[in-house]
Symmetry: C2
Subunit: 221 residues, 2 copies
DNA sequence: CCAAGCTGTGAATCGTGATTCACTTTATGT
DNA sequence: ACATAAAGTGAATCACGATTCACAGCTTGG
């Protein structure tokens, strides 16, 4: 026996794996998952088709890894906001603005994660991440209810409703990008409307003043 | 020349077309679009695979026709509610209850229409019908704003948010049905929570009394 | 009854893309 | 340098369903 794994080969292996994932991400960002074939991803990553299978057992696993990586980042972003020292209403408003802003920064990728038709296995992942978003919102909502800032309501359903409220209005414009018909779109106004609707839905009347919204609105780059 | 179409042959043709659509619908209702192949639909309809192509130029057109038929019914249901002589708040609440109730009556079919991964051409149709739902809600919302029952807000975004609020909380349970893991679920409570959230989001505080909600809640079969 | 033109059939064909595999190249430890 | 085990390759294979097509059975007006 003579060959053994070394830190060096392990590092190279991890590197290539990351390179493949990044290549796949670039494709997603441009064409969505529908444009991602093993062959194109291989070419983009600069490896042969067959090599892909040294790093991922099959295409689904590759896609799943990518999906988790990208969705994970987004959810983490929301988690980070939830951890800031903000009132529940402020936290939620900021989530609305950030989510919208980030979606429009990488519209095709966002569409791919949020709504593009996917393999059933990935659809399952999508549900998991929706639930993860909802968990973040639910914790904020419960904090708000305890503080008396929000109405007493079913925080579980409310959190899912927030997920829906946030995603649905973005879908049509994001789909445009996905189809390559990018029209200019005032996503800032959209975020403003959505944040109002979200807070209203929780009965957060008077929790945020116009100035709070305006602050978010103006920070929105 | 000797052959010509007659009312009789036209009727037979229409009949078979309807039979095929209904066969497809049955499959959707059981397995979703992913279970719908030209071959299985043909067998279910009692015709040969090749015959399918006498009635629909290709699978996409068949699916599109089916999708339109089923989604059309659902949207019509909402339109009918919008036309009743109800206050905007009552109309919206009723939409929430009806939508939820109908979704759970045919859970797999509803999941298929609302969220199952589909061919891009069908995904386009889905967007169209989401917009159609939103149009109905928007008309109600605008009525509510004019009447001073709802807050002044962007009715376009609000209508989309309502679509999202209504759909998202149903998704996880409906997906369970789609996966064949049907767990018992109290959809009535869900409808109640959702209707509260919807009305809240529009700033419809005090538009509906508890008794209004209870009425819907109790009518829910 | 006949010719013309539908409608019905289902096995064979086709297209798409994932996956495999026999072979080459590279890395490792003795 | 050598034997061994991975990693790299890309053309060939495979799987899955939609679609086609050559032929058979009906309908119709003349």
């Amino acid at each position: 026996m003579a060959y053994r794994e070394t830190p060096k080969t392990q590092a190279r292996k991890a590197d290539t794996k990351a390179k493949i994932l990044d290549a796949a991400r670039q494709i997603i960002a441009l064409k969505g998952f529908s444009g991602l074939t093993v062959a194109t991803a291989a070419k983009q990553a600069g490896v042969a088709t067959g090599s892909m299978y040294r790093y991922f057992p099959n295409k689904i696993e590759l896609c799943t890894a990518l999906f988790r990586q990208l969705s994970g980042r987004e959810v983490d972003e929301m988690r980070a906001i939830a951890k800031l020292d903000l009132s529940p209403a402020q936290a939620l408003a900021r989530c609305c603005f950030n989510f919208t802003q980030r979606a429009f920064r990488a519209p095709v990728q966002s569409y791919a994660l949020m709504a593009e038709p996917l393999d059933p296995a990935l659809e399952m992942e999508r549900l998991v991440y929706r639930r993860a978003y909802a968990d973040v919102y639910q914790s904020i909502i419960e904090r708000g209810i305890e503080a008396g800032d929000f109405e007493e309501l079913d925080s579980h359903t409310a959190s899912l409703a927030v997920v829906g409220m946030l995603a649905e209005p973005l879908l049509a414009p994001l789909h445009q990008f996905y189809c390559g018909e990018s029209a200019p779109y005032d996503s800032r106004k959209l975020a403003l409307s959505i944040s109002r609707l979200c807070l209203n839905s929780l009965g957060a009347k008077d929790q945020l003043q116009d100035k709070d919204f305006n602050e978010q609105f103006n920070e929105y780059a």
